[in-house]
Symmetry: D2
Amino acid sequence: MDLQEVLNDIRTEVLDAGLKGSLPDYIPELANIDPEKFGMHLQTLDGRSFSFGDSQEKFSIQSISKVFTLVKAFQYKGSILWDRVGVEPSGDPFNSLQQLEFESGIPRNPLINAGALLTADILVSELKNPKLDFLEFVRSLAGSREVYYNEKVAYSELSCSHRNAAMVNLMKSFGNIQNDVNLVLDFYCHACSIEMSCTELAKAFLVFSNHGKLPHDQQQILSVSDTKRINSIMHACGFYDEVGMFSYRVGLPGKSGVGGGIVAIHPSDYSVAVWAPELNGKGNSVKGMMALELLTTKTGYSIF
Amino acid sequence: MDLQEVLNDIRTEVLDAGLKGSLPDYIPELANIDPEKFGMHLQTLDGRSFSFGDSQEKFSIQSISKVFTLVKAFQYKGSILWDRVGVEPSGDPFNSLQQLEFESGIPRNPLINAGALLTADILVSELKNPKLDFLEFVRSLAGSREVYYNEKVAYSELSCSHRNAAMVNLMKSFGNIQNDVNLVLDFYCHACSIEMSCTELAKAFLVFSNHGKLPHDQQQILSVSDTKRINSIMHACGFYDEVGMFSYRVGLPGKSGVGGGIVAIHPSDYSVAVWAPELNGKGNSVKGMMALELLTTKTGYSIF
Amino acid sequence: MDLQEVLNDIRTEVLDAGLKGSLPDYIPELANIDPEKFGMHLQTLDGRSFSFGDSQEKFSIQSISKVFTLVKAFQYKGSILWDRVGVEPSGDPFNSLQQLEFESGIPRNPLINAGALLTADILVSELKNPKLDFLEFVRSLAGSREVYYNEKVAYSELSCSHRNAAMVNLMKSFGNIQNDVNLVLDFYCHACSIEMSCTELAKAFLVFSNHGKLPHDQQQILSVSDTKRINSIMHACGFYDEVGMFSYRVGLPGKSGVGGGIVAIHPSDYSVAVWAPELNGKGNSVKGMMALELLTTKTGYSIF
Amino acid sequence: MDLQEVLNDIRTEVLDAGLKGSLPDYIPELANIDPEKFGMHLQTLDGRSFSFGDSQEKFSIQSISKVFTLVKAFQYKGSILWDRVGVEPSGDPFNSLQQLEFESGIPRNPLINAGALLTADILVSELKNPKLDFLEFVRSLAGSREVYYNEKVAYSELSCSHRNAAMVNLMKSFGNIQNDVNLVLDFYCHACSIEMSCTELAKAFLVFSNHGKLPHDQQQILSVSDTKRINSIMHACGFYDEVGMFSYRVGLPGKSGVGGGIVAIHPSDYSVAVWAPELNGKGNSVKGMMALELLTTKTGYSIF
């Protein structure tokens, strides 16, 4: 199968479909992005890569960073991490304060906001220079030093982060946050503000296809078994309360962000990142969802 | 009817009943109080007063202060206050984050924590020196200058006020808090830390029996109609999620606090305050509830 | 004060206000009622009566019947009734399955649907001929034999009573319903279908102003103390999730029904019934609410 | 790899672990089962089979039948099925009435009770002799005529099915059930009462590994694409509110039942059924979960 041709067809079909969505309005830097941006990059384990459009343009990875904070926290804590955060889908369309209150400050999983604030708390405790050290970790995954925070985005989010502040405070009231809430929020907003291109994201996620071993330097950052677990969590929890629909339509583990990016992997095979800023009502890129659905339909490569 | 004799009988019957409860454990200053303290003071509109026990010893009024912040905020805002806070009982045993989230940051009523944080926000905006001016207002109600904040209690509560911080942040995320969250929390914790005796509280609440006119200086602080409304809110919302049971057993508008105080009024007739630190599972003084139930049973003076 | 003049003024002011509401659409017999109907009847304990408009026309009392089933069940069970149903306001705008599930099949209070289904279950157990005997009881309260079920309304409701069926089944799953669910639903729908006029309703509720003694034959149907309790429950729970607002605006214990009727009492003084079919979003008569608010404002006779 | 040896090791390790759980107490026929029963059967697409223990003994498949009703309803309705039931995990530990009410009578997915009652309603509409025709369908999947309902279990469940009755009635109140509620419940309880052995279940599920084609007669019962979708739904929703943990530990699509059975598939490869009656707090077989976790760990064959 000619994968470049598959990607070209995907691009055409998605553009022809004329899908519309909306941009997130609470962060000026995201609201003013060109809604026509559209890029995709597929990276195979055997070293081939395929792409189209704005695949090399950096964008705000937002919630995709939750996978990176999860992996780093899991490296430090191992399975005792699950004493402080679950692995179940949240199933809750109304964000998470209600659920978080009901479940005594234990977030449902590490890929919703509350759970990522929890892994942020762990990294603030464990890392010597949390923001610097975490950035270096993401760079090592991507195999590139050209990965940065966008400070303007970080502070913009921090200044309107009252709901996240409510969540950290609620978790702290249950004893499940150890650091000062402002430190945790600052770290969290910085992690969300990281900017990467589809190419960089696909490369950074290839480790999850590769059973935990970084393809570019053969470093084993997670055991084979733990990598399966991260993949399973991405699959069960990576798309807010649309995980079932993503699994139904696409059938790959992955993670989306409100910056319009989605990254997914096919175990033992490839990773793929797509970027198109317009979002559906669940916060997932409309064009990105369709592009990935077409990918697994055309290639027959879903996990099911 | 000899009301002093009624009070004496109440004291005996309550002590004979051997009721047990627990002290709040999250504030050292409240946890270490002598659980045997027990006082009561009844003040009639025609100037008579009756009391027993520790009726003149000051204690932490805690949530009883929510009536004072409500009245002051109502003086400033009038009925537009109800755009930002409701007048319905909360009916929610699980504190209020869930309800507050579901109802878009509008607290159910001004006598639950979220609602009192909202009136605190209004007073922080309206008062020139919020903490000083508010204390003067409470002193004017009590007709006594010997009313003070307990700074140790205030800071002790502030340091463990994560759940309240979660609520203010959640309300701010919905645009229903105007000031800095720390300013609001500081004011709120100070208001809760006010210390008054049963005698002082009964005097301060007599204005609600007297249709809004301060008995000691004839100043009309609320209109007749607005006073009825405050009484109706106390009756519908003054006892956490035990309002129905308090109404069923006692049948008077009032307000309780986790310091063990309860104050209640009989319109056109009297006010009464009781203090006994041990609380039932709903946060209301066990001896205080029984004492007030006996009072309305023995005198036949409930509102029903 | 000339109470007939007060009522005349209320009629004029309410009609001038041009209030609009909607008719319940799920029961044809209620949807087709003339929305302009408007009547009121006030009955004093000392034997005077005042009225206007359609005060003698019968209408479907609907949820007002919940007070009658409560009183009859309370006569049989006394305070052990509260093991199976609470006395707290429900505070829940989304009807009650969620709350009922969370609280293990114990309805919040006897004046919401779930609670009235519970008292219906008790009466189905206790009464020899449940529907006949209950009708006789209501007739004895009203002092009139001209009170009937409307069978067409009863069966119309029964045929679209799936939500009520859900509630009875849920309670039965928790062991809190003893009879066959269809028997309970049949009894409940018949009780709701009773038709009475404002005059008959005011007379039937006068017993709650009169400390439990029927005015027309001096029979004590409830003790003084239990009558206070029924009044307190009406006050805390009689208006769905608008109890606080009714208390705030009117300040009397009472009960409303989706047939457009509201009945309220002033202890030791009077009972009053008003009927106007158009409802607000909470299911309470819009004209009826305003009429009662004007009554307590003009007479100064609220309980607060 | 010698799969029979793998199964033998699994049996030994699971028995050595001494896991304990409890039997469901609401159905006498399930409560009295021998808790030591333990069998497993693995069936590969290339025709090999491996097993141990009580793999040929029939047991009550209970909720595993929800996959069969889903597939049959999906055959009739295609993707318009998703107008009446979702594909998202429920994430709700407190069964589903609350969620069902909040989401207007649309069940979260077809593998929770509410969703299976919905597919039951469809089959009652579509099948000429619903119970007979459905049984024939299951027999055709299993390639065996020796599959039967257990009428005693069916009626035992029907008689204590009040919570299910509450759900059907609630859905009917939202217009999402077309048939008489008793017909739907009767069909549903019969489907749950089907008895099959591990061997039969593994054979019946092999079609989901085989891209929708029945291995024994090459009949295509679902398209390739629809089979992926059924697998994705099993993976996202097949284990009550423990789907994330099952995915994390096992990493295969599957379905469990309170009869102690679990069946799972590896796409393009094999199906596997395990039976051990003792359940964990989430309603899944404790030994079964461990056996399947060991299977994917030892073989490395998870989907991730």
